[in-house]
């Protein structure tokens, strides 16, 4: 009898230690990655990064201005495309579709799109935009990023609108408000913290995306604001500079990675803060 207890106890203690160790491994890698990014990133930060364009190979100067501007442009256009489509899609699911068969099918497909590898989306946009247009362009890059962010916004919008109590909707309807006013002025407003969380998470997801941009926006060594032509952007610059033999290019890759990670982490934290404000009705 005693031996059974002893065995069970030892199994239990061993498993707890192993699981604690598994968690420690995960946290360890997080800090390792964050720490190296911080260390090399801060070392690579240079004022010239923000005011000069990417230098040609072989020279010893620094600059990422064109890539920062390009990335901001790409992200802004994807927000312009992704937020309305994602919000309207989520609104349809929550307000019009409910739990109908069609709505559930759309939710299912949306969940599949949610975990789609970004490279597939890159290839898709290459096939429908870059190939017909004949050249890479910032616009197609933005479309690819928007396609990646839309499922996230659809899902959070759907979930957050479903949390809004129906008493509010009924009150508005009873006052004679047409459906679209009920949705835009009552339910969207009630769910705004949650919807904003979804948008921020979507933005965080696409900020560092590189693979789809290789097939769409590509890169540009020069400063450009033309959305119909290739544009410089941070992720592709990191990719190309990291694999280069020049030490100043590698330093710039680290600095760019550091700024990207910082931006994504701040977005995630703000998103978490907004999520905390979402009231879950009981």
């Amino acid at each position: 009898m005693i031996s059974i207890y002893a065995r069970r106890r030892s199994v239990d203690v061993t498993s707890k230690i192993l699981m604690g160790a598994a968690t420690a491994i995960g946290v360890f890698f997080l800090f390792w990655i964050l720490w190296t990014t911080l260390k090399f990133g801060v070392a690579g930060i240079h004022w010239d990064l923000f005011i000069k364009d990417t230098p040609p190979p072989g020279t010893n100067s620094f600059g990422l201005r064109n890539a920062f501007v390009g990335s901001l442009l790409l992200l802004s256009i994807s927000l312009l495309i992704g937020v309305p489509v994602g919000m309207m899609g989520g609104t349809w699911l929550a307000e019009y579709g409910f739990r109908s068969r069609t709505a559930n099918a759309v939710r299912f497909i949306n969940d599949i799109m949610l975990s789609a590898p970004s490279i597939e989306i890159g290839l898709f946009v290459y096939a429908v935009m870059v190939d017909p247009m004949g050249h890479f362009s910032a616009l197609s890059g933005s479309v690819a990023l928007a396609v990646l962010m839309i499922p996230i916004i659809v899902r959070t919008t759907d979930e957050m609108l479903s949390l809004v109590g129906s008493d509010m909707r009924e009150a508005a309807v009873a006052l004679g408000a047409p459906n679209w006013v009920v949705i835009t002025k009552v339910t969207w407003k009630a769910a705004r913290a949650g919807i904003l969380t979804g948008i921020l998470i979507g933005l965080a997801r696409i900020t560092g995306e590189t693979a789809p941009l290789l097939f769409t926006a590509l890169n540009n060594q020069f400063f450009s604001k033309d959305i119909l032509h290739p544009i410089a952007n941070i992720p592709v610059v990191i990719y190309q500079f990291a694999l280069s033999p020049y030490s100043n290019w590698q330093q710039m890759a680290w600095a760019a990675a550091f700024i990207t990670v910082l931006f994504v982490l701040v977005l995630s934290l703000v998103a978490r803060w907004f999520l905390g404000k979402v009231q879950v009705p009981k």
């Binding site: 949306n110 969940d111 290839l123 047409p178 679209w180 560092g208």
Partner: protein, 334 residues
Amino acid sequence: MSESDVVSGIEIRPMSERPKSVGRSWHLPADFFFHKAAVFAAFLVAGVLFATIIAIAFDSRTSIHAFGIWKFLKSSEWNPVTQTFGAFPFIIGTLVSSAIAMVLGVPISFGVAVFIAEIAPVWIKRPVAAAIELLAAIPSIVYGLWGLLIFAPVFARAEPWINDKLGAIPGIGLLFQGPPMGIGMLTAGIVLAIMVLPYMSSIMRDVFLVVPSSLRESAYAMGATTWEVAWNIILPYTRTAVIGGIFLGLGRALGETMAVTFVIGNSNTLSSSFLMPGATIPSVLANEFTEATTKLYVSSLIYLGLILIAVTLIVRFLAVLLIRRLGRREGAAA
């Protein structure tokens, strides 16, 4: 319909059956257009999935004509100079690197999920869960940068040891032989394991929390240890969703591009050792796409993408299906 009614639980959304039209509201064109815009957006979202498959299949037509299906899959010659293309090394590379990631990642993810859901004291739970989730927020390009410039040199120092110890074992020893370069299949698998860890563990943790506390408490009342509760009560209850979570991680690993491209070494020839460089479908796409000059070359690369989509789509379909099944059973029991 009866089944899907159970899914979301009527109690959560009691009056979601909003009135379809009230008085003159349907006469307002704004209402009409708002509704149509919402319908359009929702179907656009769903349509992209099908459009992706069709567009990519269409763009790979040149290569499908030239090489057929079976010949492309099993040919291991990838030579842009002679314009002969075969997918075999990349398919194997994708499968092997993901398999390594799963072998390492699944037990660790399970451990993390059980630790957060069952073992950890409350004050440690939240920060640790947040830290693991932050792993998912780090862009894959940063994993690549770290993997190539930081992890690979460290790992290269461990490789002679792996070579000595594991390489000496007859049979599987063949898998662990080669020069200590730090980059290769095994490195890619390890980096992938870290990357999919947060996805798998957060799904597992979420479904563990769905287990009714009555089940858990009864087991503890019977004198079961934490491990016994986790292994014999919680895991059987959540089995399908846990498998779904693993598939979700697998889907991510199969399609991961940037991190793998950095650390796998990008060699188009097949090697028997995990320590040797290889290539996956996404890595060869990222590497060669912008350099592809001929139409057949581009088309063959897109054909590789088509194979990847076919595989990941099945994996993702199963993942979503299995994860949702638990919710269904939960609803049916309530």
